[in-house]
Subunit: 202 residues, 2 copies
């Protein structure tokens, strides 16, 4: 096996080990280099051949999580074309992501307000992709001026993200309720922004 190939392989082993150790009661900050190395099947010191420290690993994880999010968006667009209902399809796709990759979502959720400024801004950047794309859609579909389209998109993403967080601690039989509640909230926003589009005076 080629050397570069093998190196990439154990690099992946490290990343996978880290992801698999994340859980409801274990955050990235509570992972230890030694534990990750152990699960990846390498000596603790070999870790340094791939990452300078745990922070570098963490940023890599956030990047990968962001990648998954973007793939998700692409998937949602395809579904919308076939299905029609924009809001419902988007949320349902997102909820599937949250429940199917809860560790990945938890990583983003936690590091968004975590103790590392680098992590926080990395997560913020990933979420901005969501917001920017949604804002552009709103600009096309509605008569909303640019500035307000962005504010509307931010509110929507905030609400959806928050619903994902709720779902992590809710029993599955509540997913349907959470989803429909969020749909209602988004419709309010859309409707309010449309008929109240002029900038408020005060």
């Amino acid at each position: 096996m080629s050397r570069a190939e093998q190196k990439e392989r154990t690099r992946r082993a490290i990343i996978n080990a880290a992801f698999s150790q994340l859980s409801a009661d274990k955050s990235f900050a509570s992972l230890s280099l030694r534990e990750v190395a152990r699960e990846a099947g390498i000596a603790p010191t070999s870790f340094y051949r791939h990452f300078a420290d745990m922070d570098e690993l963490g940023l890599t994880l956030v990047d990968e999580a962001g990648l998954m999010l973007r793939q998700l968006m692409r998937q949602a667009r395809q579904r919308i074309e076939k299905n029609g209902s924009v809001i419902r399809t988007s949320i349902e796709t997102f909820m599937e992501f949250v429940t199917g990759n809860s560790n990945v979502f938890r990583l983003l959720l936690r590091e968004r307000s975590g103790t590392s400024a680098a992590f926080r801004s990395a997560v913020a950047r990933e979420i901005q992709h969501f917001v920017a794309e949604l804002a552009e859609y709103l600009r096309k579909e509605t008569t909303c001026p640019d500035e307000l389209a962005r504010a509307q998109a931010e509110a929507m993403v905030t609400l959806v993200f928050h619903t994902g967080a709720d779902a992590l601690d809710a029993p599955p039989e509540q997913y349907a309720y959470l989803t429909s509640r969020t749909i209602t909230q988004l419709r309010w926003l859309a409707h309010g922004a449309a008929s109240y589009g002029r900038k408020p005076k005060e």
Copy 2:
């Protein structure tokens, strides 16, 4: 000095030490019993005379933070009576809390999605106070049916809380923008909910 009195005094010293060690780059999870004890001016083992473990301390901190939040609400009500503008006054009061007690707000923000289920539900409970109170207000002031008043209140609290989180990483000159953006979002919600109050068919 009375014994009970002295005990309460060092208990407070522990709590204060914990609060003061929280910061942008230090979460409660990253506090150590020994560090807290050191700053409180007691031996590590004396900690156990007051709390069974760090988790118990943490729950106490969350309780105290919730208390501050409720005091804040009371203060906001008073201001509203004198000032009039409900939404703007509420948000400005909240933003003052966030910037003036950022460590306290950070505690709630982080433990809301932290690694301890007990912490998460404790924070959720504190936030529910906000939601319940706002929902009741909406029921009185508007024609919104109960169920929808709650959903509206939840969305509003979510947006305001999120804005607080944004403020933590934003330079002070952006506070005004964040505030006005959120005001716009809340008005959309209120307007949308009022004119779109009937439950959506799908």
